[in-house]
């Protein structure tokens, strides 16, 4: 379908991305126009196609193609950047001039690092043709299958209402510097989620899957699980808010654990503003900060993560183990902070994806091992309350259940909670098998003690 429509001249799919050669030609062109001391060019070429639906109608769907060029100009110790998506010579020259003017006007930056020279990058095959080819007809076919599966699975509750979103993205990113660096990477991702609601308005369920490879996503399964959860969550009852053992499904863990990324800033830790600051100065690297079953790492080359091989500076990214068996092993160092502290720069904390390594158990086994607790499908509207403890607030949503003697016994009303992923990982009862939950995320189910469900929410 996509090949056919492409040949008809429609703007479709990953075929619209800049190739390595085209990206190189563009960055060379920009660099040749710049007379600044140092220049860096970041090119982002992207295609996105999505289908959104609600109540058996496709609503606000669309597709777009765009290529933007960000030009970072350094003059002495002054730096500024300007971006444009108008790519003729005159516009690119105007954008360079603007960046240079902004740089000259900026005060000197004592933390400025020189642009990098040529680097060596590992090969990461994160571009999956099948995802880049996902056109409207195929997307809508998948939506149809999910809607039908939801209707069938939810029949017991009457006519199920389903709403959801399917998006496929293909991106090419290139970084080049006047010091000879050139980096190019292509990636794809697809994400499909469905919310199912029962006609009596008392039940709601949700399921989601994401991957670099559309082939790994099963639309019918997503529709079915969402509807099963909706049916099971009807007529929820209240239990008194308080501290309960919680079984968090892998998607709920994906909502919480990556929030630790912000706390992994080495600078914040050194400056005394982070949970990983050592009282009296320095960081807590080398100290035990979590349960010994917790290992947390980023690794762009890991086939399960397929992250970016470089950051926007062109700095090569490699495996970073943040927490190993509960011990803080590393923090995220920018190039400046790494130089200041005499360590290796890591780039941004989560650029290389994130895996919470775990055990071998399924979510069902974690439920079976729970005498009394609350099962959480996912979380919503999470906001930070306290940076020092990584304390967050948020709500449960689309399937919250009571577990008694290892079994789900009834649907519960949703809760607001106040909890910290850091403190929670110190109250671990059990850890499941990591599963792919979204592109660049591998997260297990968790069973944690004394999760703070602080008040009830009437929301279904």
């Amino acid at each position: 379908m996509s090949a056919q429509t492409s040949s008809q001249g429609a703007a479709l799919g990953g075929s619209t991305l800049l190739s390595r050669e085209q990206a190189k030609a563009l960055t060379d062109r920009v660099l040749s126009f710049s007379a600044a001391d140092q220049t860096r060019v970041v090119v982002q070429s992207e295609w996105s196609g999505n289908t959104r639906f609600a109540d058996a109608n496709i609503t606000t769907s669309g597709g777009s193609t765009d290529t933007s060029v960000t030009i970072i100009v350094t003059i002495g110790k002054r730096q500024a950047s300007a971006t444009t998506n108008v790519l003729d010579d005159a516009s690119l020259k105007r954008t360079i001039d603007l960046a240079a003017r902004l740089a000259r006007l900026s005060p000197e930056d004592p933390e400025l690092m020189p642009e990098l020279g040529p680097q060596t990058y590992g090969t990461i095959n994160a571009y999956v043709q099948r995802t880049a080819d996902l056109d409207a007809e195929m997307r809508n076919g998948a939506v149809s299958r999910a809607v039908e599966a939801a209707a069938t699975a939810g029949k017991a509750a009457g006519e199920i209402f389903s709403a959801g979103f399917l998006v496929a993205n293909a991106r090419a990113i290139a970084v080049a510097t006047s010091n000879g660096l050139f980096a190019y990477h292509r990636t794809t991702d697809a994400d499909f989620s469905v919310t199912a609601r029962t006609p009596d308005g008392t039940g709601s369920g949700w399921a989601s899957a994401g991957s670099r490879n559309w082939g790994a996503v099963d639309p019918a399964a997503i529709g079915r699980i969402a509807a099963q959860k909706a049916v099971a969550s009807r007529n929820p009852q209240s239990v008194e808010p308080g501290l309960y053992t919680a079984v968090l499904e892998p998607l709920a863990v994906t909502d919480l654990v990556p929030l630790l990324g912000g706390a992994l800033s080495a600078r914040s830790a050194d400056e005394g503003r982070s949970p990983f600051s050592k009282p009296g100065g320095g960081t807590r690297i080398g100290e035990k900060v979590m349960d010994e079953r917790v290992t947390l790492y980023s690794d762009p080359a890991d086939p399960a993560l397929l992250g970016q091989p470089f950051d926007s500076d062109g700095l090569p990214l490699s495996r970073n183990v943040w927490i190993e068996k509960g011990i803080l092993r590393n923090l995220a160092y920018t190039r400046f902070w790494a130089q200041k502290q005499g360590v290796r720069p890591t780039g941004p904390a989560l650029a290389g994806g994130l895996t919470l390594a775990g055990g071998t158990k399924t979510t069902e086994e974690l439920i079976a091992g729970c005498a009394r607790g609350i099962l959480v499908t996912h979380f919503f509207y999470i906001r930070s309350l306290d940076a020092r403890t990584v304390l967050q607030t948020g709500l449960t949503r689309d399937g919250t259940f009571l577990i008694e003697q290892g079994k789900i016994t009834r649907a519960l009303k949703n809760f607001r909670w106040n909890e910290s992923p850091l403190l929670m990982l110190n109250r671990l009862e059990d850890i499941g098998r990591p599963e792919p939950t979204a592109a660049g995320r591998m997260m297990p189910a968790l069973r944690v003690r004394e999760f703070n469900f602080s008040s009830l929410s009437e929301a279904v």
Partner: protein
Amino acid sequence: MSPTRRDFLKATAATAASLAASGPLTLEPYAQTPAAPAADAAALEMANEALNAARKAGASYADARIGHYRRQVINTRERQVAGVTDSESYGLGVRTLIDGCWGFAATSTMSRDGAQRAAREAAIMSQAARVVKKRGVELAPVKPVTGTWMTPVRRDPLEVPLEEKIALLLSANEAALKVKGIQYVNSGLALLREVKTLLTTEGTNVTQTVFRVGPAFSATAVGDGGDFQAYEHELAPRGQGWEYIESLNLPGNAERWAALAAEKLAAKSVEPGQYDLILDPTNLWLTIHESIGHPTELDRAIGEEANYAGTSFIAPPEKMIGQLKFGPAFMNIQADRTQEGSLARVAWDDEGVPADQWLIIDKGLFKDYQTTREQVSRIQKLTGVTRSHGCSFAESWKAVQFQRMPNISLLPGERDLSLDDLIAASDRAIVIKNRGSWSIDHQRFNFQFSGQAFYEVRGGKIVGMLRDVAYQSNTPVFWNAMDMIGGKSSYWMGGSFNDGKGEPSQSSSVSHGCVPARFRNVTILNTRRSA
């Protein structure tokens, strides 16, 4: 408070007073702003090319939107510039309707060929959408319009020299660093100029130039033993020019704001429990946004946002319109896209519908939702309103337009009470200023909000500063617990530069005007002890 700020408040209060006195105004059609630039010839050619291709592909209706966006963001910390970015984005988005099904495609390839391809791609999407179709789209009528409009500004914020902007921010930082204990200061500016041309197959042809400015300031004080407290001042973003930034007098006020961070270090940690709550407009605007703005979006009420932002407790419409008692009889909530200086002010929305002003809550009773053209038929029998309220917006040329919030404001009370009057009338209460952490559930019932500065009231007087405060409540309970509000002189307009909604998430900008208000018996949490 500086004289300029006070003058500004007076000006906004005067506007609000006229609204309160006369109720919702009947709007005259927008006069064209003489200074507003017209569309450039290339944009018109692309848009026409796209519309012709859409018609050829079978579209019964199509619109073409060309956007040229210029954004500048400047961030500083202490005595240095943390970053300056300037971005330009130009492109075309085409929406088609075929057999009652929408399609949308966008491209940055601004050529005749690029425009035709985008239109054909949108038509392919419309056709492909027929496989999942329960009910076709019906558009409420709108009179085709031709015109131009521009946010009234005295000085284009993008044309102000960067030196002047940086000097302003750094002098504010310098003033803040004078305060004992202040170790970190952040200040910044987000500036936007958007030129947007919309053509429809029904004959609308409008070009608008919109300006928005968003200043920011925060200071962090570090105390003994590693304790630290940040204070972020509520510098409302506005749909105005550089003159607004100047009116805030950042260098003149920064020291006083930073002193609040230092003062918070010594503040008493709040004792959790039930308190009367007095919310300053700098805090209340966000509570209005979250608990009234979002649940009165009609797309949420009918389930179209169910998979992301959520649904609404104000549903189904037939059981709510004219029936839901939202709050006390003195509570009037107005939606408005015409309010001077507001972020959501325009002349026409992204469907060419003229800006509107209407009551969402009238004397405490829920009356109407926010609508786009295709939503009107869903509720017109209930409301008697046959026009769209003009709430269709897209964040850029790249994104499809859908229902977005207009400015939604709490109108002043009849008596001209001030914040001090509310405090004087309270025996035991907490006053909250500025936005802190906020979170609300997916039907907009249960919320928990914080602030930046908290004061304990005893016997009608502020007796000291508090810290670690958050309030938690349920929307209908909360608004029905409101027993006092300020008058026209205490009206202030806050706003959000980036309000997220939709999948993929789109950002929009919206203002909320309000007066201080008192709420009885609200649950107060201690955010520190919750950990």
